[in-house]
């Protein structure tokens, strides 16, 4: 299980490649990997968005991401899990969040990946402020429903 808060851009495929290569003890044991990547769009709620600022609560964010992954590990027999989340100034097309889980069977992987992502969306203390093309900026009020 690994949790990371990144203030610099990250490449989710490179992160996954590096993480999996380090986990030699997993080799041959996992049959399923489910991954979600959230990426910044250049539009939201009908407006063009030029940039975003992502704030978090250092300490509490990591604490809750660890809780979320620990709970999913128990419920879905995860062999491993990984969450990476960007903070700071973010540009369109930048990856914002990566969630990955490794399991023996696909049912657990699909369900755990989605649950971790929904828990992150509803519980992990992150806040987005959008900079619009017209120069205005605004806090995003709430996340869209995931189910």
């Amino acid at each position: 299980m690994h949790i990371a808060i990144n203030s610099e851009p990250f490449d989710p495929w490179q992160v996954l490649n590096d993480y999996q290569n380090e986990k030699s003890e997993l080799q041959g044991k996992y049959g399923a990997t489910a991954v979600f990547v959230g990426t910044m769009r250049d539009f939201n709620e009908g407006d063009d968005v030029s940039e975003m600022f992502l704030e978090h609560y250092p300490g509490m964010t990591e604490h809750h991401l660890e809780n979320i992954c620990s709970q999913a590990t128990g419920e879905h027999q995860l062999l491993d899990s990984l969450v990476v989340h960007r903070v700071g100034v973010i540009q369109p097309n930048d990856p914002i969040v990566l969630v990955a889980v490794w399991t023996a069977h696909r049912k657990q992987a699909f369900e755990a990946c989605r649950e971790i992502m929904e828990d992150l969306k509803s519980k992990a203390p992150f806040w987005k402020k959008e900079q619009l093309n017209d120069g205005q900026n605004r806090w995003v009020g709430k996340n869209t429903k995931g189910y």
Binding site: Y57, G59, H63, K123, F126, G141
Partner: protein
């Protein structure tokens, strides 16, 4: 001993102090609950109905008791991911 209070995102903007996300308040002022902390800090501003509260980084409600050394945080609905 003090209680450390933090405001995040739009809740910090609401408090009218854009630069500071943290302030310490001294204990001995009749502050017993999280709601008392809000009242002490908010200078008459009503607590928004959708505010989220954490004490020592765990979610709590406004009636939760606070004690010296606690870290109390107020913030809007989270929008990460």
């Amino acid at each position: 001993m003090t209680i450390q209070v933090k405001f995040f995102a739009s809740m910090r903007d609401l408090m009218g102090d854009d630069q500071s996300i943290s302030r310490d308040i001294v204990e001995q002022q009749g502050i017993q609950t999280v709601d008392d902390v809000w009242t002490y800090c908010a200078q008459g501003k009503e607590k928004p109905s959708n505010v989220l509260i954490a004490v020592n980084m765990d979610y709590v409600d406004g009636q939760t008791q606070v004690k010296a050394g606690d870290e109390v945080a107020f913030f809007p609905p989270v929008t990460g991911g």
